[in-house]
Amino acid sequence: MKVMGDDDKLMQEHGRSVVAAARELHARRTLLVAEARAERRRGRKLRDAAVAARDQNLDLSWRLWSLMALPEPPSTIPLSWDVPRVASERLEAACVAAEECAEACAAALGGTQGEIRRTLASISGVAGFAADCGRVGDPDSRRALSLCVRVIESNSSLLDGLGRTPGGALAASSTRRCAEECTRALAASYLDAEV
């Protein structure tokens, strides 16, 4: 029979303490994972609530606009809105304006560089996409129109500057017309849904 030496005892004790620490860590990890899951569930619920609140707020803004309490209609539509799609005449006008805007911005790319060039490419892409969505009756037509308006509006100061240059006047004016027509199409769709 082999007698256990001091070193072996030490090793054994060390092994036991490592196992105990590992168990403790595992238990702590399990607890943390459960807490993280609960937090994620809570986060999802909060986000659902936030989306619902934003939708309700947007819906109220549209109502206020229809009652003439707001001068301009909101440029975003609530997620909860679905069919009917954008009123066809207004949609057609918005598609034409968006196409013209996409073409004018693409044509103006040549004479520009840097930030203006990148912005023109962005607006051209967004407007072209919105026009295509409207043409094929894509379920996301209104979202695309809404996005188009927001992107143009967010670049309004840069577009004002572009409008004062010889090559950029057409692009700048077409973006403004595009934003107006898309806003009208969104407003028309809202009024259609109200009827």
Binding site: R44, R118, P139, D140, R150
Partner: protein
């Protein structure tokens, strides 16, 4: 529609728009300004990205380019972090619409 579904729908819309921006702006430029592909439909943040990086990222349809702080921790994981943007990937089961890509966009 749940918030997660709405987020996926927005991400796909932004990505489809970015494909158009790429088609228009990539021909003779080194950098693009694309839309943040996050799940917030009202987001209009933009991201500066090189054409080469954008092409590389588009090889995987489950990846999206978002601004810092726009990632959704419970359904996405960050796979790449740059000073300009984050690249996120859908965690867990990837929605079918994401795998199919923007060309076949449908309601999730």
């Amino acid at each position: 529609m749940s918030a997660a579904d709405a987020a996926v729908r927005s991400e796909l819309l932004f990505r489809a728009v970015n494909e158009r921006i790429f088609e228009i702006g990539a021909s003779d430029a080194e950098a693009l300004e694309i839309l943040c592909e996050c799940g917030d439909e009202s987001c209009i943040s933009t991201v500066a990205i090189t054409v080469r990086d954008y092409e590389r990222l588009r090889l995987d349809s489950s990846r999206f380019v978002v601004c810092e702080g726009h990632e959704l921790a419970d359904i996405e994981r960050v796979t790449e972090r740059t000073p300009e943007y984050l690249v996120v990937e859908k965690a867990g089961r990837t929605p079918e619409a994401v795998v199919r890509g923007p060309a076949d966009r449908t309601d999730p």
